[in-house]
């Protein structure tokens, strides 16, 4: 978005932008996706600065008046504190700056330090849980195929669906596609499926906000290949809440998909027809089931 100074969104949020520029900014906001993104970024940065105690008295007052007073403002500030603490932990020993250990907007160094151990415990417990409870041949297909170079990269346990009890080679493999990047340029999600799998159980996150009509929304997803040919269309699906996510799911025969680049589009079924909600590009390949 050319022609707009970097601090215009910040000034807009702090209500320090002159009126004429405010009106102009709002017009751009309604017409330009990037402007909306920049505004959201400025909000996050202001909350981060507030959490880190880096605002002047006037700025802090404006943040409290206009941002913390929004419906989830206080929650976002708490999140900002926690994220700042996590970023400092991540920097770890390579950050020896004097600011690294100081108190940040109420989250004290004591609190920060207290989390080093639980982070490790959680990580270790996650790995142990995944390794002990689930057989290695039935780990969930990772959402992105990266080499398992650290504990964080251990493939997730699989959730074989529709095959209660004993695990067998024909059990569908679950692939969970999260709506992590809506319009990003992350490229295709790498998914590898054992060559013996006959079905893949696709779970798609639904992140289209809350229905205001009161009706229970239904969804449909479609899988196309790189040439745009339709390979699979689901029936009408209702979303269900699992942990922090709403997902829809359906089993898809592997032989109908083939391999290579696939486009998965999730749409909401509305009175006016299908409304696209999310889409993913997936690079599907098959792999041997045993190491």
């Amino acid at each position: 978005m050319s022609g707009m100074p970097d601090d215009t969104p910040r000034q807009y949020l702090l209500r320090t932008l002159p009126e004429a520029e405010t009106l102009q900014f709002e017009e751009r906001l309604l017409a330009d996706d990037e402007c909306a993104d920049r505004l959201r970024e400025a909000e996050d940065d202001l909350l981060d600065d507030c959490a880190s105690g880096r605002l002047s008295a006037e700025e802090r007052e404006a943040v409290e008046r206009y941002l913390l007073n929004a419906s989830n403002g206080v929650d976002r500030l708490r999140f900002a504190r926690a994220l700042a603490a996590s970023a400092r932990l991540e920097k770890g020993s390579d950050d020896t700056s004097p600011s690294a250990g100081r108190a940040h907007g109420g989250l004290t160094a004591r609190t920060t330090g207290k989390w080093i151990v639980p982070f490790g415990v959680l990580l270790a417990a996650s790995v142990a849980f995944a390794l002990l409870i689930f057989p290695s041949s039935k780990r969930q297909v990772p959402m992105e195929s990266q080499p398992a170079t650290s504990a964080r990269d251990v493939p997730l346990p699989v959730a074989p669906v529709g095959v209660p009890g004993a695990v067998n080679a024909s059990a569908p493999y679950s692939v969970l596609l999260l709506a992590e990047v809506q319009r990003g340029a992350d490229g295709a999600t790498q998914v590898s499926i054992p060559s013996s799998a006959e079905q893949v159980h696709l779970q798609l996150e639904v992140a289209d906000g809350t229905s205001t009509s009161g009706d229970v929304p239904t969804y449909r997803f479609m899988v196309r290949n790189a040439e745009g040919r339709e390979l699979f269309v689901s029936g009408a699906l209702a979303a269900r809440q699992v942990a922090a996510y709403r997902i829809v799911e359906a089993s898809v025969p592997v032989n109908s998909l083939g391999t290579g680049t696939l486009h998965v589009q999730l749409s909401r079924i509305d009175k006016g027809g299908l409304r696209p909600v999310f889409d993913w590009e997936v690079n599907l390949r098959t792999a041997a089931t045993t190491p």
Binding site: N69, Q146, V242, I247
Partner: protein
């Protein structure tokens, strides 16, 4: 949208500017929510107001109003809705004896954030688990992107974009999405009832959720 005919008219008008009117509708709604979330008083529901604005836009189009610029026309409707919401809130606050708000403090009066160590700890726990649920790249990205502050922020982000070989705008977009996703994950976890002794990583929650579903 309440009126399918009005919704159809809106999609038709959006199609004149964009070959994918459904996506254009979603993007316009997102921008509208961004504007309203910042402008309306805390009691007002920005998402509901955004839907009201789009509903009104659709009805105007259905009535035959010629809309030269959809964003500008929508902004006009949204500004009216902000005024209506403010008036409604003032009226409600006046009626409520417990509120000591002044008109001038319509969007003010926030008491700041009260110290609450227990909640801060819960947020940290939830964030730790949510970060673990991300891919390594996404996790590194969000921590690096939001890891710098003050005057170093802009330079650090440009440097990060250079390292990743992507444009700063693309990096911003990516970081924002990951952060929004994390916020959603954290609030989802905080909303869950506590179950002592149960693992609460996103994946295991998803897994046990799936298993529960299957064995019902």
């Amino acid at each position: 949208m309440a009126d399918p005919a009005a919704f159809g008219c809106l999609l038709q008008r959006l199609r004149e500017d964009d070959p994918s009117p459904e996506q254009a509708y979603e993007r316009l709604r997102f921008r509208l929510i961004t504007f309203l979330r910042i402008r309306v008083p805390v009691e007002a529901d920005a998402e509901a107001l955004a839907d009201t604005a789009l509903d009104r836009l659709g009805r105007r189009l259905h009535e035959g109003t010629v809309v030269a610029s959809v964003p500008q026309y929508t902004l006009g409707i949204a500004r009216l809705l902000v005024k209506e919401a403010e008036a409604r809130v003032i009226s409600e606050r006046k009626r409520s004896a417990s509120f000591a708000y002044e008109h001038a403090a319509l969007t003010g009066g926030a008491p700041g954030i009260p110290p609450d160590e227990e909640t801060d700890d819960a947020v940290m726990r939830a964030l730790a688990a949510c970060l673990e649920s991300l891919t390594r790249d996404a996790r590194d990205l969000v921590l690096s992107y939001y890891g710098s502050d003050g005057s170093a922020r802009i330079a650090s982000r440009h440097e990060l974009a250079g390292k990743l070989g992507i444009a700063p705008n693309a990096l911003r977009n990516r970081a924002l999405r990951v952060r929004m996703r994390l916020e959603k994950c954290v609030s989802g976890r905080l909303a869950q009832p506590k179950k002592p002794g149960v693992m609460h990583s996103v994946e295991t929650s998803l897994l046990t959720g799936t298993q529960r579903e299957r064995t019902r």
